[in-house]
Symmetry: C2
Subunit: 274 residues, 2 copies
Amino acid sequence: MKFAAKLKRAIKVSKSLVCVGLDPDPSKIPQSVLQAENPVFEFASRIIAATAPYACAYKLNFAFFESLGGEGWKTLREVLGVIPPHAVTIADAKRGDIGNSADKYAAAILDDLHFDAVTVNAYMGRDCVAPFIARPEFGAFILALTSNAGSKDFQYLKAGAKPLFMHVVAKAREWNVHENCGLVVGATHPEELRRIRKAAPDMPLLIPGVGAQGGDLESVVRYGCDAAGSMAIINASRSIIYASKGDDFAEAAGAETARMRAEINAMRKKIFKR
Amino acid sequence: MKFAAKLKRAIKVSKSLVCVGLDPDPSKIPQSVLQAENPVFEFASRIIAATAPYACAYKLNFAFFESLGGEGWKTLREVLGVIPPHAVTIADAKRGDIGNSADKYAAAILDDLHFDAVTVNAYMGRDCVAPFIARPEFGAFILALTSNAGSKDFQYLKAGAKPLFMHVVAKAREWNVHENCGLVVGATHPEELRRIRKAAPDMPLLIPGVGAQGGDLESVVRYGCDAAGSMAIINASRSIIYASKGDDFAEAAGAETARMRAEINAMRKKIFKR
């Protein structure tokens, strides 16, 4: 199935734009889970089971798995194995390297691990992105404007008539021949989100930065969705997976995901009349 | 030991500016090695043993190890273990993510794997680089101008008086309070290399793109070195590790590294009179 179709189906089936960000930090996992054979898998799999009905996507943050060493790579694979088939799986790896290295990263993430999509840093240009978008069944979310404070250092530099992040958006549109290019746009920049959506009316946007990072949810829905009130994948990580520090962490994660879905869907109804 | 001191010592001890790039591709490893228990380790460790007297640094390309899955991570650790202590070890991982994720990447690469340095993509700004340069004993090489064709897509965009890559150079200088920030500059751009060296007279430059990618070695030495004819770490990967396709691959790699060292040192002598 083409990536664009899979994403549309995931949103439809789950009636949700919520993406659950899995950044499992062993130092934040409840005590009771630490006694499991593989605490990170136990933690993540219980969160997945509890949130699955309310999420269109799962984003796995590679930094947190890589910090576990070789074991982390195995855990990544096991966690992927328990994500329900309706949901889109996103490797939040922010990869970007020259052609022959990018080929290897694409082989690792798409062919070996079987993710549906990956986040990509396009600073190095087209050949770094190409292997991730060469096949219509896999997608790539290119970093355009990120949610962090450091986004001010380079992404806003004005080159010609527009800032760097808009140059990235323009190139991503040009590269999007298989309709499998998306963009990462931080929820912390609502005005710029509006500008990017206008320039890329049909592309899926992966929007981190609500929840712990404080992005405003209504602006995200209003400016991030396409004309049909869809195609914005709104990610929350810490606010979902650490919704409770106790043994009820999974139930709390499920409840928080359901709450976010309901809040977002009410806004979609209000703003887009559907 | 501080990173800057370690690098200077490595260059002095090996009398070399050559960095051996380890991009071990199982499909290119000689037949005889494929019978070893761990062919990638066997291949890399024999190359390291043969090249060690002639190299100041080893750069391990994470793409090639990650494409081997969990086993690759283990192999990465084993390969690191046989690199001689005089040499600087560089994780060519091109990482870049927001603060809490960057912390995790730094923990994985510097604390767990014990690399001396890492390549970093600074598109996301200061907080993405900070964890890698917070401690003087570890270094980071920030992507400024890369050697690939795609470097033209964004890195040359002119913002104000200078191109994006010079903005990166300026920020890297600003961040370099522990003298542990370096820059990645492709050998395929000699004029820009000269410009970057002029703007950053003391920073170490990691220069890929000679060898298989065709960068001119004399320009690299002339424009990449500091005023003392040092601090340019000139990387070759494929031209060294695949110098021979036969069973003599390690000897051939050693000979090619020695040849590069001699050629570079002759140029250093000619150009810098030392």
